[in-house]
């Protein structure tokens, strides 16, 4: 994908566009050939308008004034993208931002669109809208490459599917003659994993109790925004509490407040009957919180450090990483070998840098590290985001195992199937509040999705007239 967009050079092989063999040295070459990419993480400047974001870097095409605005209107209308050029990007929701990204690519004259995990951040209703947009594009003769881990989506939107595993093409399939199960088996090379848990292991011993957590933040314009509003919940030993919600509704801040990386204005956090509301992050980790961060590159790894140094990260004061004030390199290395073995981290050795591992293997290393210090509470924020299906299954297994061993698990995810499959209790977070709860045994992703957009609150029942 990076190679297709010119961000990386291939060692061998060729790329052919419109019957013509091409070589891309940088994204500029790719754009010139009509290839555009919509990244998983949006590349937009929040403090600029949609118009400004679209013309940024492409000022030569249609200028920055009326002509550009007309062109944006034209594209927006042609594909029913409903983009308003003069709105600030920071005022837009995730789905709108994504449409701006698509428009940005089309504005540059792209004939081939690459979409990298475009649905990861969308609720089901928004996914349907996106697919309608994609069908428009297809009807206009554009080519779309849709990269996703979600099989159902691929099957519903694609005309042809290519399965890639460990860097090689495993096979191609036609959606009309393939079931999700067959596709998944191609991806994993074996049986399809499901995120379902076995019988309940929930006890009535509270492990983590959060009461009345409140966090407000003053933004650059001096306006106070409430980020966490009266958040209260309890997770018992052996319980997985899942929190659903569209990203940016306070989930990251909630996790950071529990980890001690953010200081809430009010509220009490109790771990295993000890008040940790004002403890430092390191004390909380030592007290038994395991943390799988949502952005492993930013919060979970030192990318340029070798694996064994990454094994120490976050647990530098604990055995076997150190003795007294000194790092115990030998023991830490030996324990890294163990984690690599036990958690099936695919690596040639523990001296390679974390950056050279694939996402799934990085994540397995993090899970292994966090589980190696007898945690009482495991915080898993989007634990399977951007990892391959094989690693996904393994990580689900580890979470289930943690639950069986009596850990309390706080699971935050945008993958509704994962949430429903793994959780014992489900809560929905919307604009900093826990607005709804649901029973994972009966709820459907669509019903959860409507609560995530704020359309439904209270206790969600699986009924026909759920929409209200």
């Amino acid at each position: 994908m990076k190679i297709l967009y010119g961000m990386q050079q291939p060692d061998e092989g060729t790329i052919t566009v419109n019957g013509e063999q091409v070589v891309f040295h940088n994204p500029g070459d790719a754009i010139a050939r009509g290839i555009g990419m919509v990244h998983q993480h949006f590349m937009l400047a929040d403090n600029l308008t949609v118009l400004e974001n679209v013309v940024l870097g492409a000022e030569k095409l249609y200028g920055i004034g009326g002509k550009a605005r007309a062109k944006i209107k034209e594209i927006s209308d042609a594909y029913h993208l409903n983009v308003r050029p003069d709105v600030l990007v920071e005022e837009l929701g995730v789905a709108d931002r994504q449409r701006v990204e698509i428009l940005k690519v089309l504005y540059r004259g792209a004939k081939t669109l690459i979409l990298d995990e475009p649905t990861a951040v969308l609720v089901p209703q928004e996914v349907d809208a996106l697919f309608d947009n994609l069908r428009e594009l297809k009807a206009e003769g554009l080519t779309v490459i849709f990269i996703s881990h979600k099989l159902g989506e691929v099957l519903s939107v694609a005309d042809e599917i290519t399965v890639i595993r460990r860097g090689t093409t495993v096979g191609t399939a036609e959606p009309s003659r393939t079931t999700p199960k067959q596709l998944a088996e191609m991806m994993v090379g074996s049986e399809l994993p499901t995120p379902e848990t076995a019988e309940s292991t929930v006890t009535d011993v509270p492990m983590l109790k959060v009461e009345g957590l409140h966090l407000a933040q003053t933004d650059l314009d001096g306006i106070e925004r409430i980020i966490l509003d009266e958040i209260s919940f309890t997770i018992h030993k052996g319980e997985v509490l899942g929190i659903a919600g569209v990203e940016g509704n306070g989930q990251s801040e909630l996790v950071e407040a529990i980890m001690g990386m953010r200081h809430p204005d009010a509220g009490v956090i109790t771990l295993d009957a000890a008040d940790i509301s004002h403890a430092a992050t390191r004390r909380r980790r030592e007290a038994g919180i395991g943390y799988i961060p949502e952005d492993r590159h930013r919060h979970g790894l030192l990318l340029e450090a070798p694996l064994w140094e990454n094994r120490i990260l976050g647990h530098v004061t604990e055995k076997p990483n150190s003795r007294g004030g000194l790092i115990d390199i030998k023991a830490a290395r030996a324990d890294t070998e163990r984690i690599v073995q036990e958690y099936d981290v695919r690596t040639p050795g523990i001296d390679v840098t974390a950056a050279s591992l694939s996402g799934g293997n990085q994540q397995k290393l993090i899970v292994g590290r966090e589980m190696s210090h007898n945690p009482k509470l495991l915080i898993a924020a989007h634990p399977t985001r951007g990892v391959d299906v094989g690693a996904q299954a393994a990580i689900w297994d580890y979470i289930r195992e943690a639950r069986r061993e009596g850990l309390a698990v706080l699971l935050i995810s945008a993958d509704l199937d994962e949430l429903i499959g793994l959780s014992d209790t489900l809560r929905v977070m919307y604009r900093g509040r826990l607005v709804a709860d649901a029973d994972p045994a009966t709820i459907t992703p669509e019903e959860l999705g409507s609560a995530m957009t704020g359309a439904a609150t209270g206790h969600l029942e699986h009924t026909e007239d759920d929409e209200r």
Partner: protein
């Protein structure tokens, strides 16, 4: 698997040596071209540098110079490992040396005690001066680059104000030099007499101890691990439980304390007083040397020696009819080449490693599928 890791290690060692060698060769080529451009022959110049540089009196001179440069390099490197750019090493060491000289001149204590007090005074002054920048950064978000540059100027002004007859200084040598009161001979640091080659400053041992401490603290202690973590990724450090703010202030203080030592070899082994011609600008030399040595304790030592060597030999070149500006050219080119060469080699190494990991995994995958087919 063992075989592979050892191979990677060997390769890493090779890559580590490749960068500086590449840089120095490139620098030599560029320097030769510059000398050619001035209409002179570079061959004899290099020849003269070699013979003169390895004469025994030159060796002592270079070691003495390198002692000072080494301390400067380590001081800057401590900041670099934290991702802090302590440009203020220059002001820190001058202010530290000045106050240490004032204190030393006023002391009448047994020798070892006054040396100890002078050292403590110097380190404390440097640490305090650096701490200002650290505190400003964590409380007000002031970039340490800006604040340390300004603190350098302030240090210069303070010294200029206090280094006046009647303030903290006095006129000497018949009224031609303004300096602090000289240290009593009891407060001189020991030197090693090497005969006609001159005196080797005893402070070189302190520099070696600082180097070992630097290596040990950063590589082997929890504190050092936390410090390196912050340097590599502040966000990951916060999530792992390091207080980044505390770390910034602490490392600035340590960097400043080591900076305080930079003036000590000169003060305690050579000048015994702080005068208006006390060496200045060594803080900036330290930046170049830390870059050259890749923040590695041995690398910094080699960098410091190379710097001393260049200074000694190019001074001599002047007498051979070459332009004395050659020194600046060589030094500048070396630093540029080193920075470029390290980046090139680093990228190459990273790419090699990724390819290796990929190849290894593909091989593993192939092996398992074959097994499955057989079974």
């Amino acid at each position: 698997m063992n075989k592979l890791t050892s191979r990677i290690d060997k390769e890493r060692l090779f890559l580590g040596i490749a960068a500086p060698v590449l840089a120095i060769v490139a620098a030599l080529v560029v320097t030769a071209l510059v000398i050619l451009a001035t209409g002179k022959n570079p061959g004899p110049a290099f020849n003269d540098m070699l013979t003169y540089g390895f004469a025994s009196d030159s060796q002592v001179y270079i070691l003495n110079k390198a002692t000072t440069y080494y301390l400067a390099g380590v001081s800057v490197a401590i900041g670099f490992r934290m991702n802090l750019f302590n440009i203020g090493v220059d002001g820190q060491y001058r202010l530290a040396a000045f106050f240490a000289a004032v204190l030393g001149g006023a002391l009448t204590l047994p020798g070892w005690l006054s040396v100890l007090l002078i050292l403590i005074c110097a380190m404390a002054t440097g640490a305090l001066w650096a701490a200002i920048a650290g505190v400003l950064k964590v409380t007000r978000g002031v970039s340490e680059v800006i604040s340390t540059i300004m603190l350098n100027s302030i240090a210069t002004a303070i010294i200029a104000y206090l280094l006046q007859p009647g303030k903290l200084a006095q006129l000497q040598q018949g009224g031609t030099v303004v300096a602090t009161k000289p240290l009593p001979s009891a407060a001189h640091f020991f030197t090693i007499n090497t005969g006609p080659a001159g005196d080797l400053w005893g402070f070189i041992f302190v520099a070696v101890i600082v180097g070992i401490a630097y290596w040990f603290v950063l590589g082997r202690t929890r504190f050092g691990y936390d410090l390196r973590t912050v340097g590599q990724s502040e966000s990951a450090a916060t999530a792992s439980g390091v207080s980044v703010k505390k770390m910034i202030v602490t490392s600035m203080i340590i960097s400043g304390a080591v900076a305080g030592l930079i003036g000590m070899p000169t003060l305690l082994n050579d000048s015994y007083q702080f005068s208006s011609d006390f060496p200045a600008g060594i803080g900036f030399t330290g930046i170049a040397i830390a870059l050259l040595g890749r923040n590695n304790p041995v690398g910094i030592a080699l960098g410091a020696l190379l710097w001393g060597f260049l200074e000694r030999t190019t001074n001599h070149l002047e007498f051979q009819g070459y332009d004395k500006e050659i020194l600046g050219v060589i030094q500048g080119v070396i630093v540029l080449c080193v920075v470029i060469a390290y980046e090139v080699v680093r990228r190459y190494g990273l790419k090699r490693q990724q390819q290796k990991v990929g190849a290894e995994l593909a091989a593993q995958a192939a092996a398992t599928t074959k097994k499955q087919e057989v079974a």
